[in-house]
Symmetry: none
Subunit: 206 residues, 4 copies
């Protein structure tokens, strides 16, 4: 009949709504059960506990996006290893990366909102920070290629690096939380890439 997994599916759907509306902590297991028309025991048959329920909604995408960023970093590493690039090329590349990221995000819109804004209290509450760390490594590499030895050292300190990774990450996250459509977001991705690259050039000026 297909009825077998229906309950699990329904629970996940209801849970997603509840988490999106209230956030992890304020979401109520009881309310989720009630809305799904199911007893608590049924919920706990499918999911070990509240955290597991949240993870079931989020795990796959959380893992994937991390891998995507890591792979992206590695690929760039390979390409640029023996070639010098112009800032125009870097901007173009940044734009493309941004568009890819946005596209993936929008294909998993709800999950990203859960991960970035509603995970407080769950095992994924540090997901945003982990993302920032990966972004930072990415940026670090970008820096290796753009700089030509003349970077004022006192300005590109570790904190600045971290801050910029934050900037980038939150820029993407906001597209989602402010309700832009995919088309609008893709356009903004270009603005972001341009802007952030422009900022770099300003900092790196002698």
């Amino acid at each position: 009949m297909g009825n077998e997994t229906e309950t699990r599916e329904r629970l996940l759907e209801v849970a997603k709504d509840e988490f999106l509306e209230l956030g992890y902590e304020k979401a109520s297991m009881r309310k989720i059960c009630k809305k799904a028309g199911v007893t608590t025991g049924a919920l706990y048959f499918f999911f070990k506990d509240k955290n597991d329920l949240f993870a079931a909604l989020v795990r796959k995408v959380a893992d994937e996006i991390k891998m995507i960023i890591v792979h992206h970093t590695e690929k760039e590493q390979a390409i640029y290893v023996d070639a010098k690039t112009t800032s125009q090329e870097l901007i173009a590349d940044g734009i493309q990366q941004g568009r890819d990221f946005v596209t993936y995000m929008y294909a998993n819109k709800d999950v990203f909102i859960l991960l970035l804004c509603k995970a407080n209290g769950s095992a994924y509450e540090n997901f945003y920070d982990e993302l920032v760390d990966l972004m930072e490594k990415n940026t670090l590499q970008f820096l290796d290629h753009i700089t030509l030895a003349d970077v004022p050292e006192n300005e590109i300190n570790p904190y600045t690096m971290h801050w910029l990774a934050h900037l980038e990450t939150s820029s993407f996250a906001q597209l989602l939380t402010h309700g832009l459509t995919l088309e609008e977001a893709l356009i903004q991705a270009e603005v972001i890439a341009k802007y952030l690259t422009g900022g770099w050039l300003e900092i790196l000026k002698k």
Copy 2:
């Protein structure tokens, strides 16, 4: 004796610690009372409810910082009204504004942390957004002076404005949450100003 207000003071101090450590929602009124060596009745004599307790810690600074930003915007409005400025002057001005903001923030460090990071669930949970809105108006005006009619309209859309205000606000907020000292933060304020202005210039390019 002065004893009367002593209890209130002690409650506020303990509450600040509790909110800083746990955030508004997870903070416990009972624990606050216990740590202050006071009964719940006493707490509720001084403060109407949990929200009022939080507000008592935060209200004054929250109001002040908003007024400071508004005044700043108005003052700039008056100065630039009939003069054209170079981008160098704008950067210099941005730096000064940033330093002022940082200085005020650090003079009220704990309260700012409460407002920006620990207010979730309280009546101040939108404080960050309100700040962004004020910043946005500020930026909007900056734009009026820097542009000379040749801004590509499709890029400086309302969302971009909002996003940039976010960028700026969060840049300042992070100084605090990442534990920089005042001295470090002041230096970073310059980096931020430079970076953000650089981004602008890139966007405004034909």
Copy 3:
């Protein structure tokens, strides 16, 4: 195939471990199933309920040991019926009886631990007391032969009898629960027999 009973066997084995570790009440049917790699339905096919599962582990030995004690009592009855015995003979006999009991106990170590220490909450929670009652009848008979009419009546009251049966039973039970090896336990069985007989002689003194 032989496969049919395999599941049952595995369940029993796992259940024994679980009951031994946690006791009847805290043992979890779900955990037993999980450890056995079997669903709850399977468990309930073989065993009516939790109590039945416990009984399946324990029933045979519980019945046997009772019969052994009863038979022992009857046999002694027959032997001593018209003969007088010295206290030395009685001690020797007590020692032999103790060694027999210990040997049987150790041949069914786990089950005895379940019965004597882990049965609380199950249908066998009174097993220990039932054993004591049988021991008491046994002792009662010992008394018939050792006494020569001159027992101070106020001391050998029914309660004393019951108490002594407890003493003996728990003495044997402890060998098991304190982790003695069979060899050590057999040696202790002699100590127990000597001690308990010595106690008797002291009580029976005028």
Copy 4:
């Protein structure tokens, strides 16, 4: 009015009944509240948690009885330090000690039952064993005085010592659990003392 502490008192009384009837683990906080005509919040105002509620019933007596035993051991130590005693005197002393112990137990009958039989799962679940350990030290000392160098070493091994302490402790505990009146129990205390001493003499024989 005296009304203020009435609720706490009532809760303790009801809790005692519940624990006595069901034991620590199966006792239900909710049922205790209901029987006391009080909400759960009220119970948790007075008692931190289930364990604390149990401890409130039991703590004082548990501490006292341990101290009593320790003091007794120390006192004996002082008396016998340079005098040899006859076994008659030792028996007499054992009887007196037993009567004291029984008298104290019966003055706190319910609490002792809680401690010795109903504490499983609580912080006091090892109370019985702790008592045995204290008893063992006591017995150890008794041994020092009664022996005159001619004890067969292989028989008075550490395990035997522990076992005898168990024997003694459980003998006293049973008086309570079998519902003897104080008068009956005091008489039995003498039987116990005689019996246990008699057992010793038998073991110590060459």
